[in-house]
Symmetry: C2
Subunit: 568 residues, 2 copies
């Protein structure tokens, strides 16, 4: 079945015939990277320590994955919210007549060969026979061997009677226990870390760093908080919002603000903006030659709506004049502390602060909620168009200085070098701290290693594209022949000005497979590359931009999939 054929597929679900415009291929998902995380993660509760509800973004439907359920709901004329409330307590409960499994037992069932098991509340389901008819396609496999809850929390329409009834048909048992936070010793600085969504794929645990599966990233313009990559340099501080304060230093009168003052005393502004780690897509550099850094895939990037106080409002109110000052840098300090007591900090050049003074947000909300602990609760600074490392979380202090931040991550990290510089000859003082990031794009779906449908004649690619400095993405080119021929993708407008384009642009393209690719049963190399409003382009090769820290990895993005021959 070709991808084209799939788009008009009729699918039987719970006795109803459903139409789907875009049904992604149903082939096996590559769990290679997923397996890097420990199995214990998969059973974690998704309720965080603040007890905030997790069913966020349930209203952001539209995702491929929920099309079936939404359509089903429409046919039954049942309001989702009502159904969800009604059924939330009635499924997944303990059924003493069924056998009991440990989370470890469940985690061993991830493939068709072993059987595909998932959990929901106290229930264990064997969904091996269901996955082929799942309206959301292969994404259901992201939960294989683990909990369905984070996915269902994200795609809220699953939580309704009819859907849970289907699940319960596949019930095989109970799980032994629910797992909360990891048990840690009292003197572990990471003892009070927040509980994270098990969807995230960790690249390090202490400090915690993790990214979502790339397939989910291009689903939504605003990345759900739970899915947003986490990049922590130090333990997450525990901050009492009532005791929290932000100091603005450097004017004669100075100022200290409580969280309540920030919220009430100043006008609230919202901006949709990308935060991206300088090391996003580092794993591609590692393939050329080893680098020092977390082995990020392509998902150390996210796009959220940030709300808070405009920096310049705060500075002016505090007696600081960005235009008039002779200081050279604007410094931000966080509350996350290293073993030696030093806090995380960063600075931006005063010219950049001036240019962005009405764009920088001292943010207390992320996608309409309190900022989660991993992302800087209660306050972080958002500097649109600039690398994540400067957007200090758990913000404690802002001041002007003649010198840039003395923090390790400002002066001895997050800088670019050419590929002939290595650890024996690197001079960090010779390079400028990364601020605005260059144009980047990535194919989020299909993932590497995907086996396309038998006899497929075309393939649909989806991904993101973004450029730093507010430069809008004006074109994304895609190729299904390794870059020999190109097609222009459909760009989804982000609604922002072309010169103040802080959010990313999602894109989609259906590209014919090279003639005879399927017949040959051969490998197909998918490629994407983007262009911004200043006609900056991505470099062709990873080799040309390799650097010892593996930052700024924005070469053309390449994904290999296979086109199996038609069955004869």
């Amino acid at each position: 079945m070709s991808m084209k054929a799939a788009t008009n597929l009729l699918c039987r679900c719970n006795g109803q015939i459903l139409h789907f415009r875009h049904l992604p291929f149903l082939s096996a998902y590559n769990f290679g990277r997923r397996s890097q995380s420990t199995n214990a993660d998969f059973g974690k509760s998704t309720e965080n320590d603040n007890g905030r509800k997790q069913a966020i973004f349930a209203s952001l439907v539209g995702a491929t994955c929920v099309a079936g359920a939404a359509l089903y709901w429409k046919r039954n004329h049942t309001p989702v919210a009502h159904a969800a409330a009604e059924v939330e307590n009635s499924y997944g409960a303990l059924r003493p007549e069924l056998p009991t499994y440990t989370l470890q037992d469940v985690s061993k069932h991830k493939t068709r060969d072993t059987g595909i098991w998932v959990t929901y509340k106290n229930a264990v389901y064997d969904i091996t026979d269901y996955v082929a008819s799942h309206p959301g396609g292969s994404k259901i496999l992201l939960a294989a061997g683990g909990s369905m809850e984070p996915f269902w929390n994200m795609y809220g329409v699953h939580k309704q009677d009819s859907i849970l009834q289907i699940a319960e048909q596949y019930r095989i048992g109970n799980i032994t226990e629910r797992v909360g936070s990891e048990v840690v010793s009292g003197d572990d600085p990471y003892a009070k870390e927040p509980v994270r969504s098990p969807i995230l794929i960790p690249s390090s645990r202490k400090p915690f760093n993790a990214e979502p599966p790339s397939q989910l990233l291009a689903e939504k313009f605003l990345t759900p908080n739970d899915l947003f990559y986490v990049r922590n340099h130090l333990p997450v501080p525990t901050i009492d919002p009532l005791k929290y304060s932000l100091a603005i230093q450097g004017s004669q009168r100075g100022a200290v603000y409580s969280l309540a003052q920030l919220k009430k005393q100043f006008k609230k502004k919202s901006v949709a903006a990308v935060v991206q780690c300088a090391g996003n897509r580092r794993s591609e550099m590692v393939k050329i030659k080893s680098v020092k850094g977390l082995n990020w895939g392509m998902a150390a990037i996210g796009n959220a709506e940030w709300s808070g106080v405009v920096l310049n409002d705060l500075l002016k109110f505090s007696g600081i004049d960005l235009e008039g000052t002779e200081k050279k840098h604007l410094v931000f300090e966080g509350m996350d502390r290293g073993p030696e007591g030093a806090v995380y900090g960063a600075s931006i050049p005063i010219e950049l602060a001036r240019a962005l003074k009405d764009e920088i947000i001292v943010a207390y909300e992320m996608n309409g909620e309190e900022i989660p602990r991993d992302h800087g609760y209660p306050v972080r600074v958002i500097i649109p168009g600039v690398v994540g490392a400067r957007q200090v979380k758990w913000l404690n202090k802002i001041y002007l200085s003649d010198e840039e931040s003395e923090c390790h991550w400002q002066r001895r990290d997050y800088k670019g070098f050419n590929s002939s510089v290595d650890w024996h000859n690197v001079d960090f003082d010779s390079s400028v701290a990364i601020m605005q990031l260059p144009i980047i794009s990535a194919i989020c779906d299909p993932p590497e290693g995907t086996e396309l449908e038998e006899g497929a004649e075309e393939v649909t690619l989806r991904g993101y594209a973004w450029s730093g400095g507010g430069r809008a993405v004006v074109r994304v080119d895609v190729s299904a022949d390794g870059g020999k021929t190109w097609q222009t993708a459909d760009l989804h407008p982000n609604g922002q000005s072309p010169y103040r384009s802080w959010a990313w642009s999602l894109w989609e393209a259906t590209v014919p497979l090279p003639q005879g690719a399927a017949a040959r049963g051969g490998e197909v190399e998918l490629v994407c590359k983007a262009v911004d409003i200043a006609y900056n382009v991505q470099p062709d090769s990873v080799e040309g931009i390799w650097n010892l820290r593996g930052v700024l990895s924005n070469a053309w993005h390449r994904v290999k999939v296979t086109a199996p021959p038609p069955s004869s």
Copy 2:
């Protein structure tokens, strides 16, 4: 002699022993591109039709080429200006006892094999035996077969008794006639074109388009007016400065300004800024697959100091509020007219106009002089960081509009496409007009095809680097092994803010030749690539950015030279 050895060379010149820190190699210059121009050009007078003096920038010494003469002058304690005035009429005069040659005769003598002849006023010199001892190195060969005058006008210290005495020693004859403007018919729209410096290498004559030899480009931070590339789309209009007026339209009161008003009524601001053609380096794209456009080398770019009125001052005075307007574009119209009567025009998006409102200059001076006719006399607009095509020359009108300029060159040209778009499927409406240009760099010296010194162990590269949007160049990497290994070049600071860096950065690097390159007598591929403050990089290959119009050609710049084996 290796390049290193050359840097401490003692050179005998007119009986004096002179020291030179940087003596470029003295090997033969590749005249391949030069030969595209007709020989008639080489004898043209450099005085233009306004009778303005051409000995400009003589005071901008410091160039490698004049080091010898300057040092000589210092030893003789003779003020240059005095010497120049004294000798200007005493050399190069007709000497009836000598034979007479035509300019065509002279043009046949460009190489060591044919003998190297040059002219100065009425004189013909055979300098074949002199070139090896020329303190300025091989640059003297740029004049081979033609006139020395444009070069001596540029490097004014040559015009002194001692230098002209040397020249007169090589005198072999007189030339038959001096050549003025081309003879043209009365109804030729190009009948009143300005006379150009014969240094310029034309890529088209009607309209006139030309660039300087690349070797000269990296000599000076401010490109001399005579050397500045010329990109005309239509005939150069003849404008009486007393009748000139600039109309600012769109406010209720409107406004029309004379040249005198612009100069007296508003504060004068100067900015050093690059103007670059979108087609610069197009000739590299042509090698991949033919494109439509002038065959520019790497010198369709220049950096000048522009002086005039700040756009926003003019708009505000005329009752136009850029911040408040709901119009979407700022339109500029020139006075150069096509055969159908339509004038050249361009526009920039209002967001860009706002961001640059204090940077855009309605300029009436270029490098401290009246703007030459080819560059927009008496007034052009300078929009720093933006492609040359929008910096309308012979500026006649500025107004706000809901639509972008309807000019052909705004809507049907100067746009980017991927390499699979060709003339059968191009849709100009689908692409955005080029505004800010991406990061670019080029090796100006040594030029392609240079034969390095016998047994050379290293090579010195010099060039330019620049990025649009005011983004400073932060690094230039150079390679002498085709891009396998890299070295960071020395960047000459341009003195501007890193986020308002409108001028280019010149750079220099001495790079060891690959082990055994000389012994093998092989080809050496020199490469450069630059990085801007937003860590934008140049793409690796021309193939990846090829487009049907051959614009935006900013791949890594590659120059092939040969390293001859040491004589045994």
